[in-house]
């Protein structure tokens, strides 16, 4: 199936900021010890996570928004088959995925965000669903006497 990352917005190569800084080998996330989030300026909501300690990574506090966590943990990250065959293609997760977005699809569409149409996991499942929804389509109609 489509190998491309459906949600990536592409920028031109290079880009105005120029070359990314060198990784410098060490520098783990947030080791600066500063907390860039949580400034109280007008209109800018602080993420509401607990103090993220010296890590500086969000979400370590249990107060991080569940939606923020789920949308990353559930279907971002490397999707790789474990021995227990359950992954994002499973309908249960799809349900959740839909639950995440269902109220906002129209708005997203207006904005030109159409990730779900190019999301192989979602669209293939959605297609599957439609077929299932046909209830007795091709294979059904087994009339038991």
């Amino acid at each position: 199936m489509g190998e491309r990352d459906p949600l990536t917005t592409e920028r031109g190569p290079g880009g105005p900021t120029g070359a990314p800084g060198p990784a410098a080998g060490a520098a783990p996330y947030g080791s600066s010890g500063r907390e860039p989030s949580g400034f109280g300026s007008r209109g800018l909501a602080s993420p509401g996570q607990g103090s993220s300690g010296y890590y500086g990574l969000a979400g370590s506090g249990d107060s991080a928004n569940l939606a923020d966590i789920l949308e990353r943990v559930l279907d971002k990250g490397v999707v790789i088959a474990g021995d227990i065959r359950i992954n994002l293609l499973d309908i249960e997760l799809l349900t959740i995925k839909l639950r995440l977005v269902v109220a906002s699809v129209d708005k997203a569409k207006e904005m030109g965000i159409d990730w779900w149409e190019r999301d192989p996991a979602l669209s293939s499942r959605a297609r599957g669903r439609e077929l299932d929804g046909g209830d007795g389509g091709n294979t059904g109609g087994e009339d038991r006497p």
């Binding site: 990352d5 920028r11 783990p28 947030g30 789920l70 943990v73 559930l74 227990i84 959740i96």
Partner: protein, 279 residues
């Protein structure tokens, strides 16, 4: 067959260090997290009980939002802890293997993807930025043209006596309301676009997530932009400052910054890079 089930959180480089995690990190179901190594990589994993994580029960549990939340938070906690020490490539939630052997098999199969992602993401963090259209009241206070709410004190064409409106007045009012609403959305949309374009220009990569549903996020304002940006760690402060500036500029919109996160949204290679490499 009945080897213990192991829940995988993410993959780091095996630097030969004794442990890639701070001590005492507990995973899903309270299991102790450790590293299982293979070919220069190490997967962080902890044992989980079969009665929850075998295929059948796992499917059922995934429908349970409370259970899901607990597992998701534990997953995130472990990834965070690993990210504090170095670069970590998270795997999707509920990646479960049979025994250490299964974990090594996973590392073997995913070796090129994991090493590729580690190379690309070293020294980068992910920032989440969301824009919300605020409630009508807030907008009016921010100086936007306020849609006249029913019963507003000074309706200019108000012959609206205490009894009902005439049909024409009613229509006029409805039109005005609709127009105000459209303007509100237009402004929200323009604001969201400005935020995204500005920040995408600062970031190495950007990704749009679907807007969040208030039923899950608990936020009543409408989410009009939900994006993730990949930023070199040392540019984080500048990035956050820019977000703050934008937030100050956008009356009537609320801008929320979360992070830094481990680079969850960027584990797949940038299609643009791939296209370049192919040509």
């Amino acid at each position: 067959m009945t080897r213990e089930l192991e829940y995988a959180y993410g993959v780091v480089r095996d630097t030969g260090a004794p442990d890639p995690l701070p001590p005492g990190v507990l995973g899903v179901a309270g299991g102790p997290v450790r590293a299982v190594r293979h070919r220069g990589l190490a997967v962080l994993a902890s044992p989980v009980p079969a009665e929850e994580f075998e295929e059948g029960p796992l499917r059922a549990r995934l429908e349970d939002l409370a259970w899901l939340e607990e597992v998701a938070r534990a997953h995130q906690r472990v990834v965070n802890a690993a990210g504090a020490v170095g670069c970590v490539v998270p795997v999707g939630m509920a990646t479960v293997c049979r025994g250490e052997e299964g974990l090594r098999r996973m590392l073997e199969e995913g070796h090129p993807r994991f090493t590729g992602a580690l190379d690309r993401l070293e020294g980068r963090v992910e920032w989440g930025v969301k824009v919300y259209a605020g409630p009508v009241g807030a907008e009016a206070a921010a100086g936007g043209p306020a849609p006249a709410p029913a019963g507003a004190p000074s309706p200019p064409p108000a012959k609206a006596s205490s009894r009902g409106l005439s049909g024409r007045d009613y229509l006029r009012r409805r039109t005005a309301q609709r127009r105000a609403q459209e303007q509100r959305w237009q402004r929200a949309e323009d604001g969201a676009r400005l935020v995204h374009e500005t920040l995408a220009g600062l970031a190495e990569r950007a990704r749009l997530h679907p807007p969040q549903d208030g039923r899950l996020s608990g936020v009543t304002d409408r989410n009009v932009l939900n994006a993730a940006y990949l930023v070199p760690h040392e540019h984080s402060e500048g990035f956050a400052a820019r977000v703050r500036e934008l937030a100050d500029r956008l009356a009537g919109l609320r801008v929320e910054l979360t992070g830094p996160w481990a680079p969850y949204s960027f584990v797949a290679p940038d299609p643009a890079d791939r296209a370049r490499a192919a040509s």
